[in-house]
Symmetry: C2
Subunit: 239 residues, 2 copies
Amino acid sequence: MVVVSLESVSGGSLNEAKIHDQVYDALSEALIQGKIPPLKPVSLRTLAHNLGVSPMPVREAVRRLIAEKALELQPSNKRLRVPDLTEKRLMQLMTARQWVEPELAYLATARVTKDVIKRLREDDAAVMTALGKGDVSAYMQANQDFHFSIYRLADADLFYDMARTLWLQVGPFMRVVFGRMGTVHLPKDHHQDMIRALETGDAEAVKTSMAADIHEGMELMLDAIKAQVAPEPKRRRRG
Amino acid sequence: MVVVSLESVSGGSLNEAKIHDQVYDALSEALIQGKIPPLKPVSLRTLAHNLGVSPMPVREAVRRLIAEKALELQPSNKRLRVPDLTEKRLMQLMTARQWVEPELAYLATARVTKDVIKRLREDDAAVMTALGKGDVSAYMQANQDFHFSIYRLADADLFYDMARTLWLQVGPFMRVVFGRMGTVHLPKDHHQDMIRALETGDAEAVKTSMAADIHEGMELMLDAIKAQVAPEPKRRRRG
DNA sequence: ATCGCCGAAGTGTGATCACAAAAATAGGCC
DNA sequence: GGCCTATTTTTGTGATCACACTTCGGCGAT
């Protein structure tokens, strides 16, 4: 099954968006959504074929993703794959997320409008629906929408990109963990508290809620990675 | 003058290091050291010619640097250049550095050895020498060595790379500021305090010193960027 | 049946060519 | 002399080819 695709919705032949940007968007979307599992090998030519482009723009997109540590290139071996998460790396990711994302939420508070609140309620409703149906994919999509609706508001490019990079690295593993435990045990998110605090303009409360929300989600993953002491190196075929 | 070069010290024809990695190293070095000023346009073919390689590996290295925001590609315009620093971006960089680098210093404290202390004293001595001679290039090199000697010790890959990326973005501008004001007014660094705290294993003190060191350096740049209200868009030629 | 070897297929990397678009330059007009 | 325009050059982008190396497949020997 092909998990990446190019939605060539925009105009005909005269696209202003470069192909390698489209490939990058498609791949990052797939990675954040956890569509590509950790350790899954990918290849330039295969991706290029699936996306209907030449290997060239794929190389550039992949080079970008490697720089963001969303993909890795094993050293002696020359295979390209999604990196695995060690406990050490996950803890750093957790710490970094707790630095960046509460700050983004804090900054966003001052720029909240009624439209944003409306949008956030919709996103949160989608999250609850997905949880009810046990749809992990829909949950991850809706949760991402909720968070980045806030982050986008902060108008802090550097922090925003840092957050996106962090999600890019966590995504594949988050999908594995959530898929393994099911959506039932997912933490009670703090989205409602956050929306209320955003409405009243209480930036500190927004920041705190965001930190708590992230903390619980990452704690779950930390438990999961500690549990899987030594996952037997079973050979994985194409999923 | 060519500011980037490939030191092909390693073995003959069978290099294990990829060319695009060497190009990347050369370019990042030049950027962190501020060898390439902000807004300076660079081109793939020119770089490739100067480095004696084909444009191909340069493209990959540059794509990586663009992902790290050490270079930018103006949107409609198709010129590649070193990005400028707005006050907003600088403040985010300052905040992020205060997140990451004190933490790295904190983590490094537990792993200090006598060799490291020796190395740090040498680095700090080089810093003082450079300050005495008013050699901005030597100062930036020595200061970088000092900081990253500590960061490397922390054994925290993610944080380390975050710090490196932040320096990559600050480097070109730092060079401009320091070059403009001379080394005389450079802040009294907290390197001595830091070394002492590292020796006694007082991680909190190390963290605090690092935060102070970064804060003062960045404050200088913040003042400088506020001062230059609207630098007249004088056309710059090759430096 | 199992192990080892060898060939075929696939991998990332680098070089080269083609092309549209933007910058730079030169030229002409006011 | 200054400004606009047309031509030339340079730019990034994408495609294609060549190459060294790894991986996987199947055949044969023990």
